[in-house]
Symmetry: C2
Subunit: 475 residues, 2 copies
Amino acid sequence: MFWIPIDRSRDIPLIRQVYEQIRTKILRGELQAGERLPSTRELASDLQVSRNVILEAYEQLHAEGFIEGRQGAGTYVAEGAYLEDLNCDSLSFFEDMNTENDRDNIISFRSGIPALDLFPRKIWGKLSQQVCIETPHSIFGYDHPEGRLELRQILSRYLLRTRGVRCHPNQLVITSGATQALSLIARLLLSQGDQVVMEDPVTHEIQSIFSSPGAELCPVPVDEHGMKTDLIPQDIKPKFMFVTPSHQFPLGGTLPIQRRIQLIHFARKADCYIVEDDYDSEFRYQGAPISSLQGLDPDRVIYIGTFSKILSPALRLGYLVLPPSLTERCRHLKWFTDLHTPSLEQLTLARFIQEGHLERHISKMKKVYRRRRETLINALDTYFENKVTVSGDSTGLHLIAEFEDIVFTDQVLDKLLDYRVRVYSVELHANRKGAHQNKIILGYGNLAEEEITEGIRRIKAALDNDIKKARRQMC
Amino acid sequence: MFWIPIDRSRDIPLIRQVYEQIRTKILRGELQAGERLPSTRELASDLQVSRNVILEAYEQLHAEGFIEGRQGAGTYVAEGAYLEDLNCDSLSFFEDMNTENDRDNIISFRSGIPALDLFPRKIWGKLSQQVCIETPHSIFGYDHPEGRLELRQILSRYLLRTRGVRCHPNQLVITSGATQALSLIARLLLSQGDQVVMEDPVTHEIQSIFSSPGAELCPVPVDEHGMKTDLIPQDIKPKFMFVTPSHQFPLGGTLPIQRRIQLIHFARKADCYIVEDDYDSEFRYQGAPISSLQGLDPDRVIYIGTFSKILSPALRLGYLVLPPSLTERCRHLKWFTDLHTPSLEQLTLARFIQEGHLERHISKMKKVYRRRRETLINALDTYFENKVTVSGDSTGLHLIAEFEDIVFTDQVLDKLLDYRVRVYSVELHANRKGAHQNKIILGYGNLAEEEITEGIRRIKAALDNDIKKARRQMC
């Protein structure tokens, strides 16, 4: 609806009010050249004035050159009638809003980004349209906070088959990505002064989410096999223990069964939950698939999954598998947070899984990522020989490179940027600082093989030409 | 990926491990009749075992009748091999999961539901697909918490043109519906012991959202023109005042300019914000369009909009217009809540508005709702004559019916359900109970004209046959 205020109590004629306001809108650029104005009949009805008022106002605007158009062919805003700048640049659709990486030709080894150019656009686009056209009317209304039953049923079977996760569809809550799942858990379980056991290092954003309700984080060191469970302090009573057992973030270890059992024993003794974040275990390159921790004790483990790494983070689709005792409270909280996750996207995903596209996509992507991983390991080997140790590379979309003699300070990371390569330090995610200064996280999911090799070449060049030289000069 | 755990340390042959586990999955129904198994080559690669292991395991399963299939044509789970019940009924796609209303043929006058059968499926579906196929790769990655710039730019111009909302695109944060906007405001502004001025009555869920951080609600009575601003207690220092000035929920009044100015004066004096929830003002049937409160004082008013009523609640698309001083903190909070709202849906909506579909849809729906509203008013008049007073009907998707001599207790509402008609009492949303017992909210957005008339007939029948009779017997 085209809207302008009409004030009958003022002694300005209605024609003048309509004329003046449309004129101002055009001058200010609120109505832009080429934009179609409503018909005189429509506008008269919208503003509840006689059609003559609009006809005369339009005539005036036409006479002064603000609008143009012929009888029956519509009325349009004329060119060149725009005066003031509203600081609101128009932007054409899909004008490529590339990130700074593309603009500056920076190669970024940011972790956790899947290959964005290989998103299954055609199938997803087709299924989106089909769902939108074929779904029953009722789907367009308000829905339940836990998400569509169709998706939860398909997901519960998928999780059992591929991850050994044991749950009834009623234990699932579909969330807007894993971040919302983490945020719901924090609000569900944590209050001021509560304790949370966490891996150290661990994604720094997760530390923020859990500490925001005022909880105390109890960091437990991580080695190449994940959390060192024998170092969990025995005197604490945490609300839960947060772990990434399939592929520790960032260090990349896979938690062995002995430590898993230790974790569960501790949780039973302390009567607390375990939160298992299973963010990229679908891509496993070495050894047999690893079962979820959830399957070992479904009443005590809260499992978090996401489609951000296996499909796209832009979808914002994730889920929680909860012990039955927590589901009702979690649904309630989800309802007061955002009611529910968008219904059409849930149904599109359900069809995508149901028709076998998800498993085919994962299988295809695993091959792509396996090649990228090999390229990365080879490049590190070629440029650094035995000066760099690779770890955490059995699974997922990133690995850890440990350098013999480099401390990745902010200055070093900045210097790398001068060489148009961006890497992320492990130290950023460390709770207790100092133990991981010579390690960087190299995400390879969204980099072509040539980019990977070129990126490592740039790191080598930066280190040789500038960073080591600077250090030598300082000595 | 098809997943079964393989344990090389056990002295059970690998063939037996594979065979046993597939057999169990079939017995339990985790693999269902007709489901295709991976090829022997795929499964061997997935499980990191020799292909012979899989060939022999499959042969065994085939011999026992669990699976079937011919060389080169794929291997499938056979019929009738399912034993235990997993309490996980399979559900065919789009099997109509109708609500109890449809099942029991109940006519529900629930408010706030648009006409679900008139959602523009074809256009939305087509645009969804186009966006998915044409958008640049980068859109499939992580995005900014405030939402897509394309949408925010289009929205800021749309809001200025149609609602007199004055904002730069940077002041907009796209949210997952208005509920998330409300929840973000609560977390942004409220702590234990803070005060919030609210209309009384007001949506009971909003009361829960604002009181959950421990804030104290200060109810101000509402009459047929909205909040009685002269009754705002002068001695309080609220964090904000929550109002629905375009169409008060539930009572339906439109706040006159004098009260709007009083509200702003109070906010300036108390140095607090005003939160304007503009949930359905697009559908205005009487009088000239009403400007937003935000346009009068953009630095003090937080404006909440939603596409739930003008398009569909299932999309979960809404937005916040914030004073510049709050935008950064709100983006931060949105990031830690769910990162951002799904990108493809945002772009679909941007195109939908850009191409003029939104305004055409609103204009079309306004005609539909206008007819439904008239049908409802006529039916009330026909069945109740002067025993019912209608109010709050100038705008939106519901109106208020005040009955001369009925108190809508839970028993009365239950009795109406026996007559297969559901209505909602105003009293449910009242903070101070007792003032609105004879009023019900009649939402008409999602009811066909025949359903509206039939629904009112059922109310009449219930009241005449049962409710009044029961009351007479009690006297």
